[in-house]
Amino acid sequence: MSETQTETQAETQTETQTATTAEREAALGGIGCDKRRKEDARFIRGQGNFVDDIKMPKMVFGDFVRSPHAHARIKSIDKEKALAVPGVIAVLTADDLRPLNLHWMPTLAGDRQAVLADEKVHFQNQEVAFVIAEDRYAASDGIQLVEVDYEELPVLIDPKKALDDDAPILREDVKDKDEVGQGPRRHPNHIFNWQSGDKDATDKAFDGAAVTVKEEMFYQRVHPSPLETCGCVASMDAVSGRLTLYGTFQAPHVVRTVVSLISGLAESNIRVVSPDVGGGFGNKVGPYPGYVCSVVGSIVLGRPVKWIESRIDNISTTAFARDYHMSCELAADKDGRITGLRANVLADHGAFNSHAQPMKWPAGFFNIVTGSYDIPTAHVTVDGVYTNKAPGGVAYRCSFRVTEAAYLIERMLDVLAQKLGIDKAEIRLRNFIKAEQFPYQSCLGWEYDSGDYTTALKQAMKAVGYEELRKEQAEKRARGELMGIGIATFTEIVGAGPSRNCDILGIKMFESCEIRVHPTGSAIARIGTKSTGQGHETTYAQIIASEIGIPSDLITVEEGDTDVGPYGLGTYGSRSTPVGAAAAARAGRKIRDKARKIAAHMLEVSESDLEWDVDRFTVKGVPDLSAAMKDIAMAAYSNLPEGLEHGLEVVDYYDPPNMTYPFGAYICVVDIDRHTGEISVRKFYALDDCGTRINPMIIEGQVHGGLTEAFAIAMGQEIVFDEIGNVLGASLLDYFLPTAVETPHWETDHTVTPSPHHPIGAKGVGESPNVGGVPAFSNAVVDAFAHLDVTHMPMPHTAWRVWQTCHDLGIDK
């Protein structure tokens, strides 16, 4: 039957009220529907409204004077020449902010960060002065003319030297403190020591092990590099005393609370708005000096102040990710069954501890490091240190250090397989947590909700023709050619998080949804998360449509305005679906509960006589007797049973009982040019299991995006510093953002293992491909050299590094 015929038929049946259940379900556009994204209509027309699109009367512009040095004492700052530039209105320094106590701000990790450098600069490009001018041109001229006299200090770049006795002390402001917000520390450059697991039991497992392997791995410093850089417009209304702050915020409600805490303004006098945001990837979670300076500027001048980062500012100063120096050991029996894991990490957090994790988790959820494997005992330590680099340590398209953990365990499985001569798929099959073991309690304290890893890997192996690929590889090796097959069978931990262990500034990491159903049968929903490109306007509407029987096209979704929506913790760590979507589904169910009362009144039956049927309540056993949601909506405002309030409106705050644990099985095949070191990704197959699938097309898009970022990280992204702390390659000329030309073709697949504790069984997917993709690439590259006894190669796998391996092996000629 042609599409047109189907449509015509559907219309006719709707008119005569005889549409089948399936047709009514299809008309809803609910869960499982491959709906096009509602938001794309404006984005593809260039009609989005981003921060830099905001123009306000009398608006002025701010820009930063930044430090050329990585570590230096500021002897003096002379503003005079800058103030003489036509159009320059003000130049703010730490001394100007000091009387307001705003020269420093608290970080989300219990430390503090300089808003404008106070006596010292701690990293190159640190904010030193804020020039406010009538236009961007004058501000740009002004920053050239602020004269800063520096006295250079010894620079600390290598985190392995941070705790040496003779290391330069970076943070003089906290040098005498026993702790800086995350537990005891043992050196002025030490931030925290965090441990997880049972050390003694782990030592025992190693003592008695048939085989052990050890590898050192560095997960390089990378930057999330969203398409839109960070920025804001702060507007203080001097008459009403109300501050409006527009900005690129992944968590606008938290920003409102932070602004209130540090400015002293009542939270009711602050409105924070995240308009359209062009990607976040963790870069837009925390507060930045630009926001504080803009707010101060607006309060002082009584005019709106706009601040927009340049690309170089963004890459070199706002939050980076990873920078984990990891050491890992596995103990195993002779068949490759892992009996113990030990991991030690040195974490380079830069000049201020301003990573963004739930506050009790200084190393995020790094102790998910046992991965998809049934490992009986493990012990993990992470030490954070200060260096003269930009601060950060955020979750770049991942959930709080899960990428680091997944990379480590997925690489280690390969190291162990090579040591024992076991196939890399086989070693995984031998160690997987079995489907019947869920819910599974990991030795490091997590309760995995659901999974079926064996089925996923077997499906992946079949799809790519794994045995054939291994045969081809053997033939190629015999001819001296390099071909690698990489497997990653990762488990994520997303959806922060349960109130018992997840908070930011004491605020529990719940999520919220408010739904209002209008009299004529459409609705608006507001959620505390904030889409930065994930398609929330579409997927939330689909979930609510399935719950309340109103077509998703008739449900408007709003996020990002703190005056409008209920309080939520924002979007990062793949939490929108596990937490936000759960709130949306539960709010929908509350709507339905009230609708049932109204329907009972309309049909003159008792509530218990009713059953829900897609978009209506029908009387049990009398299917023709029904009240459609559209009519119930009108009744809510016009024909209520006694004792019920008017309206059809609810709010739900959802505290997740557990995290969700999406997983996947990825297989990557690469060919390597041994003369140049160039890697060609021949095949990349990604099977993701994110539980219930809300919109398969959006999932596919998320997987494509995540894999592309994984490819970028594995193959080229790295923030590099020279020995005096100059940040190298902080522009897109050098920092690797692959184009469509370099990006491999992605093959996607799925299994569905719903989460048992989530209202609709969904787990979240946006970050899985980044978490699983990076080790899949790395494993493929190393696998190409496995027959030459190579067990690890450092990321990123640039052509020269791969060539270096070829050269060291004497196979580059």
């Binding site: 961007r136 041109y137 740009s140 001229d141 050239q144 340049s310 690309r311 170089i312 003369h675 140049t676 070191g677 160039e678 080229g716 790295e718 590099v720 190298l728 390659g729 000329l733 050098d734 690797f736 692959p738 184009t739 030309v741 370099e742 640039t798 052509a799 020269w800 060539w803 270096q804 050269h807 580059d812």
Partner: protein
């Protein structure tokens, strides 16, 4: 990321442009496609007080055949070079190299004249022009002169062009029978400068190479004409030994800087790999392979 103040000029003729350039001397810069100059200005690494935009100058965007030679107006864009089937038939290395420059957006604005005149050793067309033995036509207050591409480059961003001269055209000699051309460029991604690149133009005459030219991109402070490498191929059958000798001679003149794409040793090795591949490809094309 905002340039310093400058005065903008938009002359309508070469004479007018030359007189503006003469008037402003060192303070003046001509603007062609702008894809090198404008980023430098936004970073304030270049702060010309007078910007003389050649996009309004008539007669500088053209591709023509003059007595067998190819004349290309300096303001002809890379996109126009790529689009010309006639040019691709007469001198295929131009399309091959142009397609490896930057990305489609940049190629739509970037000009062949700007590419060769800027003196950036990372630009691709200088080595191609050296391999083709092209010449550059310059107009100054004293009139017109022509300089060989192989004599044009003096240092990083330093060329034989006088401050008051404008490069108006490129002249490429006719391609004889049996000539094969190839440009091989190693780069990480679209838009990148070469880690190493080699242009080779050679003519095979009955199994013997009668003429050969090898030139290199981004492997020294200027684009490099590899004279000894060229000589090592001439008069040979371009067999394994000759190629080895040419590669060695080409690598010998390289002096690249280490950068984020690799240390010096890697970039020099890649100079050899690219030279070898370009020679093999050019030879195959010369013999119809």
């Amino acid at each position: 990321m905002i340039p310093a103040n400058f005065e903008y000029h938009r002359p309508g003729s070469v004479d007018e442009a030359v007189s503006l350039l003469t008037e402003h001397g060192e303070d003046g810069r001509v603007l062609a496609g702008g894809h090198s100059l404008i980023p430098m200005m936004k970073l304030r690494l270049a702060e010309p007080a007078h910007l003389i935009d050649l996009n309004g100058v008539e007669g500088l965007r053209s591709i023509a055949e003059v007595e067998g030679a190819i004349h290309i107006g300096a303001m002809t864009t890379q996109a126009e070079i790529i689009a010309s089937d006639d040019l691709a038939a007469r001198c295929p290395i131009l399309r091959e190299a142009a397609e490896l420059i930057a990305d489609p957006q940049v190629r739509a604005c970037g000009t062949i004249g700007g590419n060769v005149a800027n003196g950036d050793p990372g630009n691709d067309m200088p080595a191609v022009m050296m391999a083709l033995d092209a010449s550059f036509v310059l107009r100054g207050p004293g009139g017109e002169r022509s300089l060989a591409a192989r004599e044009f480059y003096e240092g990083p961003f330093e060329t034989a062009r006088d401050d008051d001269e404008i490069l108006t055209a490129l002249r490429i000699p006719a391609r004889g029978a049996g000539q094969g051309q190839a440009y091989c460029k190693l780069k990480r991604k679209v838009g990148d400068y070469a880690i190493a690149a080699a242009a080779v133009v050679l003519t095979m005459d009955g199994g013997t190479c009668s003429q050969a030219a090898v030139a290199l991109t981004n492997l020294g402070i200027t684009p490099l004409y590899a004279e000894a490498a060229s000589a090592a191929l001439t008069g040979t059958a371009v067999d394994a030994a000759a190629i080895e000798a040419a590669v060695e001679a080409a690598v010998a003149i390289t002096d690249p800087a280490a950068d984020l794409h690799g240390p010096v040793v890697y970039r020099r090795r890649m100079a050899g790999v690219m030279t070898r591949r370009a020679i093999e490809t050019a030879r195959a094309r010369a013999t119809g392979g």
